[in-house]
Amino acid sequence: MEGLKLDFLSSTALESLTSMEKISMIVDRVKNGELMVIEGGLSPEEEAELIETTMREIDVEEFVGIDIFTLEKDQRSFFGLSKKKTVGLTVIGPANIMRAVKKKSNFLSMIAEFGDSGASVH
């Protein structure tokens, strides 16, 4: 059975990188078939840049793009009066491997499939 490499990166490891360095690292690894689990999330601008970079790297035969999923958690304000969601974990992997995901508040479930499983349009 073919193996799946998972890389876990702490937010501290990402802090020292520029946005471009982060995106290049993510795209390089995902193109190589690896799945990345990042503590925290990317900024909206970084997410948009990641999609742009992915589109430039898509090769119709070998690399069809990425899937990104986030696990959000509730965070209470200082006085506990209001609640907002923050990104706890971000999972990024090749679109042809990450096939099915169920996502609820504070819960993320995903299946990695090997072989030519294809990718949906979204």
């Binding site: 900024s43 999609i51 742009e52 069809v64 793009g65 990425i66 986030t70 349009v121």
Partner: protein
Amino acid sequence: MRNFFRKFFNKLLRRDKKLKIGLYGHPNSGKTTLANTMANDWLGKPIGLVSNVPHETRSVYRQERVSIQQDGVELDFDIIDTPGIATKVDYKNFLEYGLSEEEAKGRAKEATKGIIEAIKWLDDVTGVLLVMDSSIDPLTQANITIIGNLEARNIPFVIVANKIDMEEANPDRIISVFPQHTVVPISALRGENTGELYMSMVRKFK
């Protein structure tokens, strides 16, 4: 109906800055159908081709200078119809729609360029209609990324819960997922509830 649109235009005419409304969303969410409905309502003619095959719109289409003149005031109103934003483009999906492999690969390459162009246009639009298909799960990375970028850039937007004419449509799911945003359920195809959408646009973009 004519009076309604006259009132709508009158509200828009009070604006002194150029209004560029970008239509954003997933492939096949109905952006071009909505752009055509808007153009038909306001200009009397459609502006783009639509089809069931995803990524039909693969470059940004701009309906420039929708010049409305009333009471001596002119408004330049642009509709920016953008290609659907996705994190992946697999040419094999297009084969299901009867395209040859060569056509499907060509379409996939064009789609990737279109997505880049759509993202670049976020720097230029002054308001956005984020079009979602009511029959599918709205909580996708593309929608989250678009909303995050609109908020970060302070671009006002209205979420359009499209395709309410479909049996499996569930616009309430979109409303529950994005409770802090304005969501208007419509059918762009049948022109259902578009009047409410136009009023929401006036309120949000004025």
